[in-house]
């Protein structure tokens, strides 16, 4: 399986504080890979570094075989690399419909956009009902759905998801995870998922990385990690 995304020895800093130490990981085409870890372990920073919002001070990030380090954040969606960032970041004063349009900002194929719009409205019927409301007026779960739907609208080859279950009820979380799985299976979208809810993440993912204090400490298939005694104790609460 060819790696669609590779990180090699990536370091990143916030001012003087080092947030990532030598992070190396790879994601194969069509895989679901998850990064689990505690608060402040550097999971979100990893995603932000991939997208060029945080600049890597060392190492390399390769996407589809080419380095994307010197690309600006806004050049990546065109390459099929989309992110659902932490905290959803819905545009609060854009309507639901406009939020979705923004997801397809770089696309010019009106027909394709219309088709995808139909698709996300089928996946999330509640968004169809609220398509004229401002994004800021939605509930937390609806906003999360909107954030994911918006990312789908970019027709990504690879989707980076940051804590999609944060602050949501277990039922909604499960609904969202089901949809992520469906999209992965049906459209072959590669997914890199960052989650605190290790339990659910490991059930969904093929492979997983465990991060602690800015570094990757463990890497294995999700199934194997679910059985790992340390992981069970530290992250799965068993």
């Amino acid at each position: 399986m060819a790696a669609i995304l590779e990180l090699e020895g990536v370091c990143a800093h916030y001012g003087r504080i080092q947030a990532l130490r030598d992070v190396s990981l790879h994601v194969g085409e069509g895989e679901i890979v998850t990064i689990i870890g505690a608060n402040g372990a550097g999971k979100s920073t990893t995603l932000m570094t991939i997208c060029g919002i945080v600049r890597a001070s060392k190492g390399d990030v390769r996407y589809q075989g080419a380095s994307i380090l010197d690309k600006r954040a806004d050049e990546l969606p065109a390459l099929g690399l989309c992110q659902v960032p932490e905290g959803r970041r819905i545009f609060p004063r854009l309507t639901v419909q406009e939020n979705l349009d923004m997801g397809a900002f770089l696309r010019r194929d009106a027909d394709g956009i219309a088709a995808d719009l139909g698709m996300v409205f089928r996946l999330f019927p509640v968004l169809f009902e609220r398509r004229k409301q401002h994004g800021g007026t939605l509930s937390g779960g609806e906003q999360q759905m909107l954030a994911i739907a918006r990312a789908f609208m970019g027709r990504p080859k690879m989707l980076l998801l940051d804590e999609p279950s944060l602050g949501l009820s277990p039922m909604i979380s499960q609904h969202i995870f089901r949809i992520i799985r469906n999209v992965n299976e049906e459209s072959g979208v590669t997914i890199l998922l960052v989650e605190q809810n290790a339990n659910m993440a490991l059930k969904l993912a093929d492979r997983a990385y465990v991060m602690e204090t800015g570094a990757v400490v463990l890497e294995d298939t999700a199934a194997a990690l679910r059985e790992n005694a340390d992981i069970k104790k530290a992250y799965l609460g068993q």
Binding site: C51, I53, R72, A73, D74, E75, L76, P77, A78, C82, Q83, P85, R89, F91, P92, R93, L94, E98, D101, M102, G103, F105, L106, G136, R150, G154
Partner: protein, 305 residues
């Protein structure tokens, strides 16, 4: 009665001028939360470009044969010039400070304002420049109310630009990108919006509007001066805030209210002429006291833009 109507027309015209300048303020503020002090100077530069071009064309005989063509040509060139000027100012003085505190940018803007004003003074001289006003003198009288074509022109252009601008912001791709950028710069980058370009475009559009306002003012009042941008700049800023800063229709309404209050205060209140700015600011403070986000402003979490 005709006295009242005459004063209302006067107020509408003055308000229209403020509104045109306020539009640029509000757009720039909306996108990078900057009180762009240099905006008033861009407005003055627009007025100067207008007089430079019109005088040149008059000397070449264009204005005698095709006055309307000449006017349109000057308007478009001046708008383009000011757009370029504003983009240069943005690149030089604001962009490097994008991640600094907002007050640093505010100060940089103030410095640019002083710089541009004096640059205009040095290149164009300290004396007022006279606009060719021959072809704007016309007007008509109706029920004792005198309306000049320029007054109608100002209101028409203001209205037209408002409609166009609203269409631009709400219907077009770049407009959506502007609104998205103003609400969340990181997220808009993540969906593929090049925020620097969008910000540049916003400055350019705001400046083009200011240039249009500068020419209208030059034609209506008959002259331009290098420091003409300062007072309307402050009034327009007040108008933008009154209407709810960041809101285009709000800027328009705010401009009209401030213009109207000034004129009516001068017309009806004893000593109103000298205290008219006081009335304008009192209205502003009063409105903000009861409607803290301005007339058209939306009530959003105020930790955001």
């Amino acid at each position: 009665m005709d006295y009242l109507f005459q004063q209302l027309i006067n107020g509408l015209t003055l308000g229209g001028v403020y509104a045109l300048v306020a539009l640029g303020y509000t757009m720039v503020y909306g996108i990078i939360s900057l009180i762009n002090f240099a905006h008033g100077e861009i407005f003055a530069a627009g007025g100067y470009l207008g007089v430079i071009l019109l005088s040149y064309m008059a000397s070449q005989g264009v204005m005698d044969n095709h006055p309307w063509f000449g006017l349109a040509f000057a308007l478009i060139l001046a708008m383009g010039y000011c757009a370029m000027l504003a983009m240069a100012v943005e690149k030089v003085a604001y962009k490097p400070l994008r991640s600094s505190s907002r007050l640093s940018v505010l100060l940089s803007a103030l410095g640019m304002s002083i710089f541009l004003q004096n640059g205009l003074m040095l290149t164009q001289g300290v004396y007022d420049k006279a606009y060719p006003t021959e072809f704007t003198h016309g007007g008509f009288e109706w029920l004792g109310v005198r309306v000049s074509f320029m007054q109608i022109g100002i209101l028409a252009v203001t209205g037209l630009l408002l409609v166009l601008l609203n269409a631009l912001v709400f219907k077009t791709r770049i407009g959506k990108a502007m609104r998205a950028t103003s609400q969340d710069k990181v997220m808009s980058a993540l969906v593929g919006i090049h925020s620097d370009k969008v910000i540049s475009t916003t400055f350019a559009i705001g400046a083009a509007l200011a240039a249009a306002a500068g020419i209208m003012v030059g034609l209506y009042y008959g002259s331009v001066r290098y420091d003409m941008g300062f007072v309307p700049g402050i009034k327009a800023f007040a108008a933008a805030v009154l209407g709810g800063i960041g809101n285009i229709t709000g800027a328009m309404i705010g401009g009209l209210i401030i213009g109207m209050v000034e004129i009516l205060a001068a017309a009806y209140i004893p000593h109103g002429g000298e205290y008219k700015d006081v009335f304008a600011f009192v209205i502003l403070i009063g409105v903000l006291y009861f409607m803290p986000t301005g007339i058209m402003g939306e009530n959003v979490d105020d930790t955001r833009v």
